[in-house]
Symmetry: C2
Subunit: 402 residues, 2 copies
């Protein structure tokens, strides 16, 4: 008798989503008739532009045929227009590869720069799904810690450089940052580019929240350094958040490195194409008024203000002022934030309502870190945000009184 072969070790290493792992508890609460405010997931409630939805209403293509592997031409032109509009006139469609969401863009970029168990430097806390992409692509993340005390900004240059080894192939950053809300300054971007240059490593920049920057700050994109390190700079982008198109899976890889672009096109050919309907819907971005983005940006800034001012009033809670995106990591006056998050869903009710948050441990590459932290996504309207803060405040009192 031969022992049946087991599933692969690498499948076992793919982590469960820390954002979604408490979903069964939330579902139980909902079954009991409890209203749950979702602060755990970044699925915006902002409307998708009508000009995009009109593509669906007036759809006349039949059959729904494959798009091109490189990307649907109308979308490539639109994305090219967008980067021109942002001032990056050196970008052409051949520097753009359409992917099925920003998540695929990040995963393909990791595959492309690193062989198995090569090292990629990341800054933690980091977007939890990065750990999935590392596991799937068998890349070794080398985390550099950023701290709540420093608003999750980058540490000294030497704290980064000392992590570089012979196996280091890249640094992966996210700015504006999910999960911390931090926006890297020009000085920080200068430092990262200088390190990439000096050590000859790739710099991967996830900029899907590019437009979501507050207090009149300006986002500093890796695109503005792309001509300085043309072979090493890779921008990972998505339309999901910018146009409230999360469920339309449209992302992209942008680089001046032509070997990279040829390689990712071969990967794209294997997958045939991204979705035709989603791409054509997204291609209408050229028709979206600037005022749409401005009003969305303003709405999130208002929510940020409400969240920040509200959470500051909770005794013992530590929150740095979020500078961009629509997330923040806060430190709670508890020992085990996951236990508190479960308590919110299973036990605590205020007027039959509660709140769902994401424990922060999953946002660290180092196991055990962030144990008393949670990530909050502020994608709810202002009234719901205010109510969520009230519930959190009461729940912390009740939890500690237990």
């Amino acid at each position: 008798m031969i022992t049946p072969k087991t599933l692969s070790d690498r499948l076992a290493r793919v982590p469960a989503s820390p954002i979604r792992k408490l979903v069964p508890y939330a579902n139980e609460a909902k079954k009991e008739g409890v209203y749950v405010y979702h602060l755990n997931i970044g699925d915006p409630d902002i409307k998708t532009p009508d000009v995009m939805l009109d593509v669906l209403h007036s759809w006349d293509k039949n059959p729904i045929a494959y798009s091109q592997s490189h990307g649907e031409p109308a979308l490539l032109d639109a994305i090219d227009w967008y980067y021109q509009h942002c001032g990056y006139s050196f970008i052409t469609p051949k520097n753009i590869q359409i992917t099925t969401g920003g998540s695929e863009a990040i995963s393909i970029a990791l595959f492309s720069v690193a062989n198995c168990w090569d090292e990629v430097i990341v800054f933690e806390p980091l977007y939890a799904n990065y750990n999935s992409y590392a596991a799937i692509n068998q890349v070794q993340f080398i985390p550099v810690e950023t701290t709540i005390a420093n608003g999750f900004h980058l540490p000294e240059r030497n704290d980064i450089v000392k992590k570089i080894t012979k196996r280091t192939k890249a640094m992966l950053i996210c700015t504006p940052n999910n999960p911390t809300g931090t926006v890297y300054t020009k000085e920080e971007m200068d430092m990262l580019v200088a390190i990439a240059k000096k050590y000859g490593i790739f710099l991967l920049s996830d900029e899907v929240y590019r437009e979501f920057v507050y207090d009149g700050m300006k986002h500093v994109s890796l695109l503005s350094y792309m001509q300085e390190i043309p072979e090493q700079a890779i921008v990972l982008d998505s339309l999901s958040k910018r146009y409230s198109l999360c469920g339309a899976r449209v992302g992209m890889i942008v680089s001046l490195n032509s070997d990279l672009m040829h390689g990712v096109l071969r990967i794209a050919q294997g997958k045939l194409s991204s979705g035709l309907v989603d791409q054509l819907m997204a291609s209408k971005l050229t028709k979206v008024e600037d005022s749409y983005i401005e009003s969305v940006q303003k709405e999130y800034e208002n929510r940020r203000d409400v969240l920040y001012e509200g959470l500051k009033t909770i005794p013992g809670l530590i929150i740095p002022k979020p500078e961009g995106a629509f997330y923040t990591i806060v430190k709670l006056p508890v020992d085990d934030a996951e236990d508190f998050a479960k308590y919110l869903l299973t036990t605590f009710r205020d007027n039959n309502e509660t709140v769902m948050v994401a424990p922060a441990t999953g946002f660290y590459a180092n196991p055990g870190k962030g144990k008393n932290e949670i990530r909050i996504a502020y994608v709810l309207n202002i009234e719901s945000l205010k109510r969520s803060i009230e519930i959190l405040k009461k729940a912390l009192v009740a939890y500690k009184a237990k």
Copy 2:
């Protein structure tokens, strides 16, 4: 000065698509005003069911939000209904994971059963993109040859078994087959299942052409063996061909192995979700009349007849009668089919028209095989097919006269 790091070796190993590699020559011909009949790619011209397109026309969800990682509930229910309809009452939504196209389903299945450089037995000629999924997942394909003389049916059991080593984790089959059009018989499926059982290896069955079987033959699905080898059977499926939804990226992994299903759900969580619009469009499959599939099946059978009878009249050309799907591999009376395919695009014109075919070398895992073979996809209407055959015939005469 430090040498800049290069891209990964694994990126370099991802092959270019043999189906699309001659596209630049075709584009040149089109620029000159030449009409090109595409026998190279399986993008059907059959209409998508109206009931699916109506989902677009009556779209009222705003924003376009993430779907669930497991799959949009309406689609999971519809797919479950479909398998019940096919007679597999033991399948429930928890045995189904929605993927972004059948291509992703195959890629994730390879990742899940094999560690790096584990072996997977394949039968060549094989669907060219399988070579991409092997490269991306760093799986070692061990090809077992099937021959045109035998209609690309499976060889003797021992020819398969002798390829099994300690590193063998799975066999990957495609029935009805792309690129050969072969449909495995019950005896062949019995043999494969018996081998899987005896050696404790996984059996992965790509059945995206399940409905496309001709001459009154019946397709034998791995689903009918699933309860016999519940931990080892994995079916890879797609709605692309069945409902002419190629550009809507909707595929699925089906298995009774709960560890596998938990693992692939974790992968899906990392990628957040497949496209919402595509999934909701596809979920209307329960409303598609059986007559739709029957008429599509009949149409392809007619095309198969026209192609087979027509190609048989070409001197020196060898074609086994295709039993299913909408592809066939034919042997040409030339030494180098790729050179002939280029000649068709660059040089040969008949009344300012020509034909594009896919050289078969890319459909072999063993380099160098299939050098005088091409793959033909018969997704053109009958008039165009007849004209394509006429052009091929004339071109072969002219090519040999050179």
